[in-house]
């Protein structure tokens, strides 16, 4: 199949792009890397009558340091993020997941912001940005607002973005001291969308007790799932293997809501999620401890 006809605009500034979106509203779709949108157009699952191409807007391509954290322009290519030394240093969790997203040829084109705006509940970057407490800057012609990552994803392929808004920037705060991170997923074939996956960032207090655990599951419902109850179980305690096991089981049993499809049953996904949760928590606490005692721990 081929895409249905559309009008094409290739603005060179954000203001110009926002003017097109304001004029056309629901009829228009921004085009970022096109690695999710163009398949939908090719199959005519989406038929916008206007495409606003963001690829010529140079002000949306950047990675900048920001107060110990990072600012990433929405159009920054996934491949750029993958190889950026500042990302490796300040957001090692992002650095670790980038090569696991799709294939090299997809990442040369796919963008950091596009993956978030697309809001696939199996997307690595969706879970990782929530685990890292990312914040998203959204702009329309009339206004600008910041939305925390955990409020941005509102349903299956659905976000807080209004049709006349663009995601322009992602802010990743620095991880607190004594923090560790981990990401694991199970895929049928290397690089496929995962059948179960989980990202986590944990922080210890100065007595070695868990102060915070942000564990986010992917492919576990119609949107990313934050395991609040498991986090409560861990809080205030030293992370023993038994406690980690109990928290992982709690999350997999009571907090996620995976579906069944041709790739895996809900039951099987739940099982995998529990196993992965135990592994990522164990690894993340180890990294947090290594950091506490001054061992570099892959930091």
């Amino acid at each position: 199949m081929k895409p249905a006809p559309f009008k094409y605009y290739a603005p060179v500034t954000v203001d110009e792009a926002l003017a097109h979106l304001a004029e056309h509203g629901y009829e228009a779709k921004p085009l970022a890397g096109g690695q999710s949108l163009i398949p939908l157009l090719n199959f005519r699952l989406a038929r916008p009558s206007v495409i606003v191409d963001l690829n010529n807007i140079s002000e949306l391509f950047y990675i900048r340091p920001d107060d110990g954290g990072l600012l990433i322009g929405a159009m920054t290519r996934q491949r750029q993020v993958e190889h950026d030394p500042l990302v490796a240093e300040r957001a090692p969790l992002v650095h670790e997941v980038m090569p696991q997203i799709a294939y090299p040829q997809i990442r040369t084109r796919g963008t950091f912001g596009g993956s978030l705006a697309h809001a696939d509940p199996s997307a690595e970057l969706v879970a990782v940005n929530i685990a890292l407490n990312g914040r998203f800057r959204l702009r329309s012609q009339a206004a600008e607002r910041w939305v925390p990552a955990d409020e941005f994803f509102v349903g299956l392929f659905t976000t807080a973005l209004e049709p006349e808004e663009l995601l322009v920037e992602v802010a990743l705060p620095p991880m607190p001291p004594r923090s560790g991170w981990a990401f694991q997923q199970i895929t049928r074939r290397h690089h496929d969308f995962c059948i179960a996956g989980v990202a986590v960032v944990v922080t210890l207090n100065d007595r070695g007790q868990c102060e915070q655990a942000r564990m986010v599951f992917l492919s576990a419902g119609d949107r990313p799932v934050i395991a609040h109850q498991a986090a409560e179980m861990l809080k205030g305690h030293a992370p023993s293997p038994e406690l980690i096991q109990a928290a992982a089981e709690k999350a997999a049993r009571d907090e996620i809501d995976p579906g069944s499809d041709i790739h895996a049953s809900a039951e099987y996904r739940r099982h995998l999620a529990g196993v992965l949760a135990r592994r990522v928590l164990t690894q993340a606490f180890e990294r947090a401890k290594a950091r506490e005692t001054g061992k570099s721990g892959n930091w």
Binding site: P3, A4, P5, Q35, P39, N42, D53, P104, T108
Partner: protein, 156 residues
Amino acid sequence: MNNLHTITVTVNDTPYERTVEPRLLLSDFLRHDLGLTGTHVGCEHGVCGACTVLFDGEPVRSCLMFAVQANGHKITTVEALGTPDNLHPLQEAFWESHAVQCGFCTPGFLMSLVPFLEQNPDPTEEEIREAISGNLCRCTGYQHIVDAVKLAAKRK
């Protein structure tokens, strides 16, 4: 409504000026408008890799870009690599290692691997398999393709 765009695209070092509808995929532009049928089209949703070309030197899916987006850019297709009498070293290695059966997937593999070998002239087997993870082959079972890449790397 005039919904046509005039674009200038440099393909394999030759500039072409054409007038296109915005919905025309880059893959169809190369095959139908320019007659460069070396670029193959398998799935049209980014999965098979047969349509891989270089966009400003980097491997991309030509089925997941529009021709209008190539305006002012450089495209390299498999036609730029070698000729039947004078194969590119990687094509030569594919031929010798039996890395080609039906050949449908071959242009996509070549266009993914040429930039890969430029950046990583002495890759490990794991790195080779990673580099071709986004290309499907229904015939060879991949082993001969991996062998061909090793052979090409050894000869460089």
